[in-house]
């Protein structure tokens, strides 16, 4: 008990307490979620299709409020926080969407630069990091291309570059390697682990077993029918070395 009590005081970037979510008057798609994500942790979110992975990610990146329970992010209770208070927290979260969510009429450069500009960076502060990031994802020569002219894999890389450009505290990725080849998948995983080593908490929803097995030390969150499968209690009380 003492050990458990000490562990629960370890820094957590996200804490879910009896969280449930339903859309409209439908059945709950997420229920009784109780877990903590340790600061600088690396998590894979798995589960069958329809288990609620994307809904859980939406709660994490503040696109959805829970219908019950409490969510603390970055040490703040945000489940009922006024909407005006959310933008600063959203700026600390990078999101890679399954459908990329790139703005079609903006160039790859402008799409990647968006988080920096929203945060108030000047054009001088934007130019270098964005060029560097595009070069890193192998799109240096496609910076002025618009998303409709990019392949699926290229769009995904732009989406990933946009998600990590401002070094978020929390990176949430929904099937980030779904449209890239194995070589690019390795590079992206390398990027995620590098960010993780710098202190970013990474949550990756994936079916890619290879990706999971290639990431040493990552924790696994498994969802089934909207409920967390956490028989070891590890998510509720992260081990000290991870936290």
């Amino acid at each position: 008990m003492e050990q458990k009590g000490r562990e629960s005081e370890l820094p957590a970037i996200a804490e879910f307490d009896s969280v449930g979510l339903r859309y409209g008057t439908g059945a709950e798609v997420l229920r009784d979620l109780d877990f903590r994500l340790a600061d600088a942790g690396f998590y894979f979110l798995t589960g069958p299709s329809g288990a609620g992975k994307t809904s859980l990610l939406k709660l994490l990146y503040l696109a959805q409020r829970p219908t019950r329970g409490r969510i603390r992010l970055f040490g703040e209770e945000l489940s009922e926080a006024p909407r005006e208070s959310l933008p600063p927290f959203r700026r600390r979260i990078g999101v890679v969407f399954q459908d990329f969510r790139l703005i079609r009429h903006l160039s790859a450069f402008d799409n990647v630069a968006l988080p920096l500009r929203v945060a108030g960076a000047s054009e001088d502060e934007v130019e270098g990091p964005v060029r560097e990031m595009l070069a890193w994802v192998g799109l240096a020569d496609r910076s002025s291309a618009r998303p409709p002219t990019l392949s699926g894999g290229e769009q995904q890389r732009v989406a990933i570059a946009r998600a990590v450009i401002n070094r978020p505290n929390l990176l949430v990725a929904d099937e980030p390697t779904g449209n890239v080849d194995s070589e690019m998948a390795k590079r992206l995983l390398h990027l995620f682990t590098a960010l993780n080593r710098l202190g970013t908490t990474v949550v990756v929803a994936t079916h890619d077993v290879g990706l999971i097995s290639a990431t040493a030390g990552a924790d696994l969150i498994r969802l089934e029918n909207g409920a967390l499968v956490d028989p070891t209690g590890m998510l509720r009380n992260p081990p000290p070395e991870r936290a």
Binding site: A63, R90, R92, I103, P115, V118
Partner: protein, 290 residues
């Protein structure tokens, strides 16, 4: 800076895409602005005319003698010598007969016709008209004094009613322009819903997003207002410069300089109104999202 949103960076301008001044909004506002200019100018001209007419007849009275002018010279002399009377003009009998001819035809020229006498006179403020009347009635008992303002009052009332009607129409057209801007803002939000979702997702505030739309609305409104106002100004100038058809419409009324100044501010007032309404509509719509 309060007007910082007007000077968006090229990157911010690219966010909404599309060419500037596309869509019907500038043209709807131009039509409203044109109509507002014309109606406002008409209202101001009516107000100016009513005011001039009211001032001109304020101190003017008419002396009527139904039985003709046997004592007319005495009456005129009495009037001229009365305290407070500034000027006296007797209407010539020939003019009275000319007026009567409209109703009576050639019979108006008959020597047997008792033509009433009419004398217009102006007084200084504070003059006792009753005392003047008593002096005149001692000479001609049937003589009657009436104030011009009492006779013209219905006309002035109509002119003032029309002036308020014009003012009301200006307000209605402004409200219609504002409604058009609200519809345009909602349309723009629908068109750019995806961009808004993405921007919100990466931490953009409502105000950051609103500024993008507010700038576009302000530029559209300014273009429409100025184009409409310029067209309206051309028509007004044509009327004011006495074009042949203008005299028919205005009765020779002219606008004072202050009224021109008011008309010149209208397109900018309309732009400010449209921008404020657009901004409010966008903020309200964004507040319905998370």
């Amino acid at each position: 800076m309060m007007l910082g949103w007007l000077f968006a960076s090229p990157a911010d301008r690219r966010l909404l895409g599309g060419s500037r001044f596309r869509g019907p909004t500038p043209w709807v506002i131009a039509i409203m602005s044109f109509s507002i200019m014309i109606i406002a100018a008409t209202g101001l001209a009516l107000a100016s005319t009513a005011s001039s007419l009211g001032q001109a007849i304020q101190a003017r009275y008419a002396l009527e003698v139904p039985n003709g002018g046997q004592n007319l010279d005495v009456l005129v002399a009495t009037l001229k010598s009365a305290p407070g009377v500034v000027s006296v003009q007797a209407v010539p009998e020939s003019d009275m007969r000319k007026t009567l001819r409209r109703w009576l035809g050639p019979a108006a020229e008959s020597a047997d016709l008792p033509v009433p006498a009419l004398v217009n006179f102006d007084i200084r403020p504070g003059t006792d008209v009753g005392a003047i009347g008593k002096r005149l009635q001692s000479i001609a008992p049937t003589a009657r004094i009436s104030a011009h303002r009492d006779r013209v009052a219905p006309l002035l009332r109509s002119m003032r009613a029309l002036q308020w009607l014009a003012f009301g129409l200006v307000l209605l057209l402004s409200a219609a322009a504002a409604a058009a801007v609200v519809l345009a803002a909602r349309g723009a939000l629908d068109t750019h819903r995806f961009t808004i979702e993405v921007m919100h997702g990466i931490g953009a505030t409502d105000l950051q997003l609103t500024h993008l739309f507010q700038r576009k609305i302000a530029l559209d409104a300014l273009l429409g207002s100025v184009v409409g106002a310029l067209a309206g100004a051309l028509v007004i100038l044509a009327l004011a410069s006495g074009a042949s058809f203008a005299g028919e419409l205005t009765g020779g009324a002219r606008l004072p300089a202050i009224d021109y100044l008011i008309l010149m501010t209208l397109p900018f007032a309309l732009t400010v109104l449209a921008t404020w309404v657009g901004r409010t509509a966008v903020l309200a719509a964004l507040s319905e999202t998370l």
